[in-house]
Amino acid sequence: MVSGKGTLEGKVAIVTGGGTGLGKAMALALAKEGADVVVGARRLEPIEQTAKEVRDMGRRGLAVSTDVTDSKQVNNLVEQTLSQMGGLDILVNNAGIVRGQQRREFWDITDEEWHLGIDTNLTGSFFGCRAASKHMVEQKSGKIINIASGEGLRGVKGNLMYSVAKGGVVQLTRTLALTWADVNIQVNAIAPGFIDVSALQPVVRQGFGGRMAEFNPSGRIGVPYDISSMCLFLASSASDYVTGGLFVVDGAGLAGGYTPTGYAPIKNLEEE
């Protein structure tokens, strides 16, 4: 990425939730830089498509049906990767679910809804890290990239499980970065802002009246490339001294956010 092509040549990456949206964008970006890529998600068809596109680039691509809320399936994803690809260097814990409880009272949230949000967005990342860790520690190298969210840093109304889980992902990232700092495993998180991928469209429309771009200081919604380029940096040796970091890619959304007017009215100093 930094020095040109092929910085991930010979590396093997796993991307969960790699059949659609950001996950697919990251899987293809990693492949483009030379990595072999294994994609896991519940639905087989989209990840097989991603794997095919990876193979079309001349890399090895593999799809493994995986529900990240089931640790056996996550373990299987890693085992399949090790046996069929012969290694594992990069893990991108991307699988997530954005399902708010809009127009629901807090006390009406069911156990099932809570578990769906927490298990998918947080526990799934834990399962991924756990499954990959032994191999990475033994080979004394690895890159783990967790997809967090600006909502993991600040609150929003009506998206409880997502915000709580993503906040947990940030702490999972920091803790594991410290745990494995001395065995050359870098663990970082990316906090995307609003990115224009199909899975996010309902949120963008419902939450902000379809005018999200207007609210963003950069005047635009993010595109998958904005995230996949950061992913490449964190997956490559360009980031070997970077660990435990949280990388916000949101067009300056979190830098402001103090007022919806977005600016301070002009106020002059009084004459001295």
């Binding site: 919806p260 977005g262 301070a264």
Partner: protein, 251 residues
Amino acid sequence: MVSAEFGLNGKSALVAGDSRFWSKYVSVALAEAGADIAVAGKDSKKLDEAVTEVQRLGKKAVAITTDTTQSTQVQKMVEQAVAGLGKIDILVNAADLEYAKPFVDITEKEWNRVMASNLTSVFLTCQAVGKHMLKQEKGRIINIISCLAERGMINGAAYCASMGGVLEITRTLALEWGRNGIRVNAIGAGWPSETETTGAEGEEKLLRYLPLKRYGHPGEIGSMVIYLASDASDYVSGQFMYVDGGIMAHL
């Protein structure tokens, strides 16, 4: 009434450098908790107001006319405060000079004035009062700043930078003087207004955004000031406490 846990009887506080409306409310809060007050600043009307309120509470009050951007005057201010109250246990900085302009239009003079008022004044008062507190092996410094110390805002470069600077002085001094019995914290005020609670019509969007649906009143930081000034907060240092109606929790 302030519970004994947070009581400040026998303590002396110096409230310095107000460009807005803080000194009266801070002085009253500290006096209610039992402290004697020296209030220092340029605006004698503000000082008199604070002194009257403090005296009404039966506490000693000293007004010191000073410019906290000038080191010699700050030196004199500390001497006057110590002469009047015997010592300084608590220093509250509350400069808060408001200023907003498109970045390209900010003149060097204006930039320097905002920095002098909001940042350099804190450097000077902390240094002058800090020497006194280091000798005492005890002290509390409370910097009242804006939550914009941690957020950017269009037209706000000078103001935000000055506030961010104070926050870093806060954190640094908390570390540097941590073993000398001095605690240094900042309070982040979010959208304070002395007169408005619901805002003008044009600010409807803003109010919809404030989680508590109203502006804060400057008096509402009083209890946080008392807590941070009291012995109850002895293990709290280098922190930035928001009194902001929840705005900083917001995405």
